[in-house]
């Protein structure tokens, strides 16, 4: 009995039982559906074993959308709980679990895969490559991320969710104050996903440095590729730090070491320091590719080349360096002394300068542009003022003396949502609408798209502006309720209404996908937006090999030059193309990783040992395997190309 007790949820509630039922039913429905329509073979051949960067990208997208709803439900529940004073919808423990899982799911399992989707789908096309440098490693990265995310999500119904905040500060996250397995899930699930992310970083740096089309020098790379390159460099430097941190957290929780404990020399602030050495760069891993997308969208729809290309690149490099030098601004009030605070205050504010440079470059691109108001452009236009506001409150928070007022209040919550939603989420939605036709061969409905953008923005303003006010008034973050007398009621009610409007906005996105799948025209060209970069020069849908002939690049807007100056992009004759074979190893190995993670969470050491062996056997098999890929013959290429041109 004792054994099974560990798998039970420590604080069961109606919501948890309902989700258990929902998860169970969904799994049954999926299995039944696949069997009924005889799609198992298709699923295995075309998706689970694929090494095609475009399909891997689409799987990242699906996961990200799924997680957006998981994190969104958490958000709505929190806002509902806080909507009125002394509410009893959720108890304190449940609230702790929800703000924790909301934070982790949104940052690591929603925003990260969304960024990965763009990198996977767009970067090889944008640099005129046929694939990434290591296609199988890429598949493994995705599956590790996916298994990490799934492992994290089952914490809700098996054994209990983490409850110490997404920052998981010790000693709160230690076994003394957090007895359930929740924080084991945190350590292990993020570890598994993080390994995948690190491998993506290595893969894409190599891809971008080595596989660009002839003629594309570094300073002729499109801006999104630049942003992806820099983000991946940050990944390679930041994620190993996280891996070590999580390993030490695991050791503390499960093997009785004393890294972050309160006795025998342990130091809880060490966790906070190392966490933010990773955590602050992490937010730039998210925002830089978002900036890259805005650059593409804005220059496309201003019908003008990006103003200040070199300063755009330079500012990103500076941001990436500074991002590693500011981490201590997360604990100005935790006793590190005025001198340290001043240093970190200054480095933090310094980031505003290169960011400001970028804002001005976008504005100057718009000036004299012939602006076309499409949905992606609308998101970008809403981004500029909203994000700037978030930037200003960020500088306010960076003033260490003043931070004693804001620290751990709703003001902070308002600030970071104010940068992350218009900054990252809007970029993702802009990019989603922008790249949808390239992925699926039809547009998303523009009218619904614009409605969504406006609804989200109105909802966003209503949801987060009141938090600045109640935060300055002293409403602390991570508090599950407040008294009537505190007077925070009105602001929180407005916030709830805003959050509900945002929820409608997100549902509209799904509706738009459904609607457009059914009713939008399939008759679109390869380049429906009249865009400027290489990804629009190949067919829609993109053939497996991306480009039948590698493009000849002359500038950072290769396609635009081809269109306006009559430059011929694709010269020469077809030659056979080398492509990698599909492989089941990444998927199988990640499944083993999932079991490994699950066993580790519950300290089931025998399965841990067995699965560890399994993982190494997979690696050994891969090492001995001889697979030189295959060739697509000239005849096949000719056929594919005529078909695509005819359609």
């Amino acid at each position: 009995m004792d054994f099974f007790d560990r798998f039970a949820v420590p604080h069961p509630s109606l919501a948890i039982y309902a989700s258990m039922a929902a998860i169970g039913l969904t799994i049954i429905a999926v299995i039944a559906g696949l069997t009924y329509f005889k799609k198992w073979g298709y699923l295995w051949r075309e998706w689970l074993t694929t090494v095609d960067h475009k399909r891997i990208g689409i799987m990242y997208l699906l996961s990200a959308l799924l997680m957006l709803f998981r994190g969104g439900v958490d958000a709505i529940m929190m806002r509902a709980q806080l909507a009125v004073p002394e509410n009893t919808l959720l108890d304190a423990q449940h609230y702790n679990e929800i703000f924790t899982t909301h934070g982790i799911v949104m940052i690591l399992f929603m925003a990260m895969p969304f960024i990965m989707f763009f990198m996977n789908f767009v970067v090889p096309l944008q640099i005129g490559a046929r694939d990434v440098a290591f296609p199988r490693l890429n598949a493994l990265s995705f599956w590790l991320f996916f298994m990490g995310a799934m492992l994290f999500n089952i914490s809700f119904v098996v054994g209990g969710s983490p409850d110490a905040g997404w920052t998981s500060y010790f000693p709160l996250a230690g076994t003394e104050f957090s007895e359930s397995v929740g924080n084991n899930y945190y350590m292990i699930a993020i570890q598994i996903a993080g390994i995948g992310t690190l491998m993506t970083g290595i893969n894409f740096i190599t891809t971008i440095l080595k596989m660009r089309a002839p003629g594309m020098t570094l300073m002729k790379m499109p801006m999104f590729t630049w942003s992806a390159l820099i983000a991946n460099v940050i990944i390679v430097f930041a994620f190993p730090v996280l891996a070590v941190l999580l390993a030490m957290g695991t050791l503390d929780r499960q093997f009785g070491t004393h890294f972050f404990t309160m006795d025998n020399g342990g130091m809880d602030m060490l966790w906070a320091n190392i966490f933010w050495v990773w955590g602050h760069p992490e937010v730039y891993i998210l925002i830089l590719p978002a900036f890259g997308i805005y650059s593409e969208v804005i220059s496309t729809f201003a019908r003008r080349n990006l103003y200040g290309y070199k300063s755009m690149v330079g500012s990103m490099v500076i941001i990436s360096l500074l991002s590693f030098l500011v981490w201590a601004h997360h604990f100005f009030t935790m006793g590190q002394g005025a001198f340290t605070n001043s240093i970190f205050s200054i480095t933090t504010m310094a980031i505003a300068v290169p960011t400001g440079v970028k804002i001005f470059n976008w504005l100057l691109t718009l000036r004299k542009g012939k602006i076309v108001f499409t949905t992606p452009m609308l998101y970008s236009m809403l981004f500029i003022p909203l994000f700037t506001l978030g930037g200003v409150t960020g500088v306010m928070l960076a003033m260490s003396a003043a931070d004693y007022q804001y620290h751990n209040t709703m003001f902070l919550v308002a600030h970071f949502h104010n940068v992350i939603i218009p900054g990252v989420v809007y970029a993702m939605l802009a990019g989603l609408h922008y790249y949808w036709p390239k992925m699926f061969g039809f547009m998303l409905n523009e009218k619904i798209g614009k409605w969504t953008a406006w609804l989200l923005s109105i909802g966003f303003i209503l949801a987060f502006m009141p938090m600045y006010v109640s935060g300055l008034d002293g409403q602390a973050r991570r508090m599950y309720t407040y008294s009537e007398a505190a007077g925070f009621g009105l602001m929180n009610m407005i916030s709830f209404v805003g959050a509900a409007i945002m929820a409608i906005g997100f549902v509209l996105i799904v509706y738009n996908i459904y609607y457009s799948t059914r009713y939008e025209s399939r008759d679109i060209s390869n380049d429906p937006w009249d865009a400027r970069t290489l990804e629009w020069s190949t067919h829609t849908p993109v053939p497996e090999y991306n480009f039948a002939i590698l493009p000849d690049v002359r500038s950072n807007e290769a396609l635009w030059d081809a269109k306006k100056n009559g430059h011929v992009l694709f010269k020469g004759e077809y030659q056979k193309i080398h492509m990698p074979n599909n492989s089941g190893i990444p998927f199988i190995m990640s499944c083993i990783f999932f079991v490994w993670g699950f066993s580790f969470v519950f300290s089931l050491w025998i399965p841990v040992i067995l699965t560890t062996i399994g993982i190494f056997v997979c690696m050994a098999l891969r090492s001995f395997e001889q697979d030189h890929g295959r060739y697509i013959s000239v005849k096949e290429i000719e056929e594919t190309e005529t078909n695509l041109r005819g359609a």
Binding site: A133, I205, F237, P240, L251, N264
Partner: protein, 198 residues
Amino acid sequence: MKIDNSLPLEYSTEENSLKILGFWIFLGAEIMLFATLFATYFTLENRTGSGPTGAEIFQITPVLFETIILLTSSFTVGLGIHAMRIGKQKAMITFFSITLLLGLAFLGVEIFEFVTYVHEGAGIQTSAFTSALLTTLGTHGAHVTLGFFWGLFIILQIKKRGLTPQTTNKAFIFSLYWHFLDVVWIFIFSFIYLKGMM
């Protein structure tokens, strides 16, 4: 597969040079990994709680052995790569085998050392200092263990398939890894052991 004969075999195909670059980037990540462990170690170095200090448990003899063994193995793996470049498969396999045996010897001494620590009351749970120490050493040791199996598989493949662009590429990357472990050890030797004994 296009083979460029003006380059050493391990670089001769495009795939090979991609792999070597990718591995260098991976080593960059490994540097961050060990840097984090070192930073932790230096932070917790003097936080020994009720347990022993470094000066009380470190012994020069086993550590000197470990250092000499590992440095020698780095040298022999270099000889192995040299033999590979001039096409001497047998010599290469011999040098690689010596390298791996030295790796095993290193692990043997390290295990002996760990057992001694535990006997002296310096287990991983004793204090923040011992946690950081044993985790850092253990991570390096785990890397050597992994390297042992990796090297073994490469020897088997070379025996079976000879010196091809694929196998030489793997061997070369393995040698980079092995040298890297040696460099990390130099840091461990100087900044953990020597500093701790002073």
